[in-house]
């Protein structure tokens, strides 16, 4: 197992290197804003643009810039400085990370609890009224775009603009360390909005898997041995049916830790996703590079954790 983990971690490094290289190349090949001109103001002289370009190191070939960037990153864990604000990318990313983690983890708890709970009940009570209502609702939740759902929930439930003012609205996020109660209440709506479609997908996925699993021979054997139905479902059925859910959850959490752009935008949560979005619009390569690397890091690490978890969840999986 240890060898497996080390091997995977080495691949993580290779992968992050490739991601950073691709981001750099894409930035140069595709049309994006010229940071030197952006920074030079409205009527810049050619000399000013040239000077800023030189200051930012943009007058060097892309591979030289990339080498400098990687050297600084590897030796000093320095992601560089924003072209736009001149702030440290590392500082900016790490200051926004708690907001994104808060949003993602809370939403993940909700969608896992709802998805697994509803999926299990629907599978066990197949074709019941609950099953039909739950699967119908799930279809709506999957179809509803996060952006629309976010706006709708704000217009319905936000304390400032909602028809039924129940929860703090957009822009109310405060860090956990500053005020835990406000942190919690400010995230209730974003959590549910972000979790809605995931919960629906997971419920449908688990329902389908569990129905299939419950018709397996070993389930019949367990029942024949006289095990209570509850134990058959929980210990034999769900344990086997949940493996794809773990895979999906790992990847989804990884992706969202890299930034839940739409949810962060609608609810004005200062997270990584919003930062990435703004940086792309501004052609701010160091910030784009930083957010992409962080996103990629979370995805590959989540993938690794999922693979390791398999060994514990599914007895058929063993690593060597």
């Amino acid at each position: 197992m240890v060898k497996y983990i080390i091997r995977r971690l080495l691949w993580v490094i290779v992968l992050l290197f490739l991601v950073s290289l691709m981001t750099f190349v894409v930035f140069y090949l595709l049309p994006s804003a010229d940071p030197a001109v952006l920074r030079a103001g409205r009527q810049p002289s050619p000399a000013l643009v040239a000077q800023i370009r030189h200051n930012l190191g943009l007058d060097k070939p892309w591979y030289t810039q990339y080498y400098r960037y990687m050297k600084s990153l590897v030796l000093h864990f320095n992601f560089g400085y924003s072209y736009q604000s001149n702030e440290s990318v590392r500082t900016e990313i790490f200051s926004r990370l708690p907001a994104t983690i808060s949003l993602t983890v809370g939403a993940a708890v909700i969608w896992l609890v709802l998805g697994i709970g509803v999926g299990t009940i629907s599978a066990v009570r197949r074709r019941s009224k609950f099953d039909r209502a739950a699967m119908g609702t799930a279809l709506v939740a999957i179809s509803a775009p996060v952006y629309w759902l976010g706006l709708l929930s704000l217009f319905l439930f936000a304390s400032d603009i909602g028809k039924f003012p129940l929860f703090p609205g957009a822009g109310s996020y405060v860090p956990l360390t500053q005020n835990p109660e406000k942190w919690f209440t400010s995230l209730i709506m974003p959590w549910f909005v972000l979790a809605a479609s995931f919960a629906a997908i997971y419920a449908r996925l688990l329902r389908a898997n569990l129905i299939e699993t419950m018709s397996e021979d070993y389930i019949r054997t367990a029942r024949a041995k006289g095990l209570p139905e509850r134990r058959v479902i929980l210990h034999h059925g769900i344990r086997a049916a949940i493996t794809p859910i773990v895979t999906a959850a790992g990847l989804d959490v990884g992706v969202l830790l890299g930034g839940a752009i739409l949810t962060e935008t609608v609810f004005n949560i200062p997270g990584i996703g919003r930062l990435a979005y703004d940086s792309i619009l501004a052609g701010d390569l160091p910030m784009i590079q930083g957010t992409v690397l962080i996103g990629a890091f979370f995805i590959v690490m989540a993938n690794l954790v999922v693979d390791i978890l398999y060994a514990f969840i599914d007895p058929r999986v063993r690593y060597s």
Partner: protein
């Protein structure tokens, strides 16, 4: 204040140039030589005690500095001196500050560098013979200095050299993060000598509190009613608009305009919460005159004739967002009336019908060498802003040009990319840029005409002369107009230039923009004409 576009570009007064910089930080936290109250259309003494005294045929300006104006902590014991303004102006020539207008407006000061310097230069034409006297010597009379509009720009915000020099070293000045303030407000926590994250976080938060060093009796410009001003960035425009209209003590920040639906609803049900006034800017379609057939004046006039300016205005929200333009200089600017006022010049028949005139357009096409009245050449590269509502306008332009057979290779890209990679880069050879606009720097039409039409302004990148107009006659006239020191003569000269430019249809000006500001019911919002009628937060108050 709720911001949607992220707030200020920089904390450094030497960098400030855009409307948000002026609203959020310039008027609130700093004072300059001259300034504007909400009722002024000409600069009033702020740190200066009076208008410049002119000598040597308008080439020497002597300005006396107000005494007893203190900086904020950590320099609270220091008062503003003429040498601080000299240093502030000089550092605007330094590459580490990245100022965008010093070379345009201060380039004729004796000893001014011709290109950005690696460190702060000593400009011999800016002199501080004693703490209360500033002398500026120029090589030729400079109208924007004598009037003195360009001395109301943030480059004249005093900066004490002995304190700031340490932060101005290196490739990028960090003075903004350590600045001292002279205005009624300062960034929260900045009295320590460094702006903390509780006071400013890029794009997210800016908190202004009262500056204890500011004394109302020394400031003729700012009543400063609010005790604290908080700017929150990164808001969704629809949500933020609703929050402001239904909330308490909130004002619109860097909104281009609220979404159409909210604007329409607001103007019927919440009219008292909206304030709409001319912004001193315009919107236009840039036609690259170096690309065939746009080098043909009749072809350009055909385009002007076919454009339905009323339809374009509807794409942005209808009459509330501006007046249909008939020439370049916008309303309330010197020279507007002389250039034709609202109706424009009757000789320019291609601007006569705001809904477009296809028959007239076809007649111009025939004059341009297209006997059928329809364009038959290859598609023209057109690059537009991809964000709404600019993209809607651009798509309307595309459709209207189709009426006279003009086919486009149509690209929509993000706003910043459109400017920095296409429309402001001559090498990109973009024929038509439908998403352009320009705003005044101050109440002088030089700041409207020169940047957009002066030939020597054509540069490889950041080129604001998008149409690449390089007409020697016009260039000479602009040079002469820039040297006029009499305001009335200046207005007439720039109006005459507007008339010539409009008749050549280098650009199709289709809108004179309005600034649409809105606020909560308990706010008394006061607009600031100097800054495009964005809010003057020092004059606004709570009910």
């Amino acid at each position: 204040m709720l911001e949607v576009a992220g707030g200020v570009d920089s904390l450094d007064p030497g960098y400030w140039y855009y409307q948000t910089d002026y609203t959020d930080l310039y008027q609130t936290t700093q004072r300059a030589l001259y300034g504007f109250t909400p009722t002024d259309t000409s600069p009033q003494p702020d740190l200066a005690t009076g208008l410049p005294k002119l000598s040597d045929g308008g080439k020497t300006l002597t300005i006396h500095i107000r005494s007893g104006v203190h900086y904020s902590a950590p320099l609270a014991s220091r008062t503003v001196a003429a040498a601080d303004i000299k240093y502030a102006m000089e550092r605007c020539f330094s590459a580490s500050v990245g100022n965008g207008y010093a070379f345009t407006y201060y380039g004729n000061i004796v000893g001014a560098p011709s290109k950005p310097t690696p460190s702060v230069p000593n400009v011999s034409g800016i002199q501080a013979p004693n703490p209360s006297t500033l002398v500026i010597k120029t090589t030729v009379p400079v109208g924007v200095l004598t009037v003195p509009n360009a001395l109301a720009l943030p480059c004249t915000v005093p900066i004490p050299q002995s304190y700031a020099a340490q932060y101005d070293k290196g490739a990028q000045s960090t003075y903004g993060m350590h600045q001292v303030f002279t205005g009624p407000y300062m960034i929260q926590g900045a009295g320590s000598g460094t702006v903390p994250s509780s006071g400013y976080q890029t794009g997210k938060l800016l908190v202004l509190v009262r500056n204890p060093s500011w004394v109302r009796s020394t400031d003729p410009i700012r009543p400063a009613h609010f005790d604290k001003i908080t700017f929150k960035g990164g808001n969704d425009i629809t949500v933020a608009s609703e929050q402001i209209l239904s909330g308490q003590s909130m004002m619109s920040g860097d909104f281009a305009a609220p979404p159409n639906a909210i604007l329409k609803q607001g103007l019927t049900t919440d009219k008292s919460q909206f304030q709409i006034a001319p912004s001193g800017g315009n919107r236009y379609i840039g036609l690259n005159t170096t690309i065939k057939p746009l080098n043909n004046v009749n072809f350009r006039r055909a385009i002007a004739a076919v454009i339905d300016r009323n339809a374009l205005r509807l794409t942005r929200g209808g009459p509330a967002i501006g007046t249909i333009a008939t020439h370049f200089i916008p309303p309330e600017m010197p020279g507007f009336q002389q250039a034709g006022g609202d109706a424009g010049n009757p000789a320019n028949d291609f601007y006569a019908n705001p809904n477009g005139n296809i028959a007239l357009a076809e007649s111009y096409m025939k004059k341009a060498g297209y006997p059928s009245g329809k364009y038959t050449g290859p598609p023209l590269l057109t690059v537009a802003d991809s964000s709404v509502p600019a993209s809607n306008t651009a798509e309307a332009v595309q459709s209207q040009l189709g009426e006279i057979g003009i086919k486009l290779t149509f690209r929509e890209v993000p706003h910043a990319t459109m400017y920095t990679k296409y429309c402001e880069v001559p090498k990109a050879m973009v024929a038509i840029c439908p998403s352009l606009g320009w705003g005044k720097d101050f109440f002088d039409s030089q700041s409207m005409i020169t940047p957009v039409f002066y030939g020597p302004n054509i540069v490889p990148s950041g080129n604001t002369n998008n149409a690449q107009v390089n007409n020697p006659t016009l260039n000479k006239e602009m040079q002469a107009a820039a040297q006029l020191t009499n305001p009335a003569a200046r207005a007439t000269a720039w109006a005459h230039l507007d008339t010539q430019i409009t008749s050549q249809a280098y650009v199709i000006t289709w809108l004179w923009d309005n600034e649409v500001g809105f606020h909560s019911k308990n706010v008394v919002g006061v607009q600031w004409p100097f800054n495009g009628n964005d809010w003057d937060l020092t004059a606004s108050s709570l009910k």
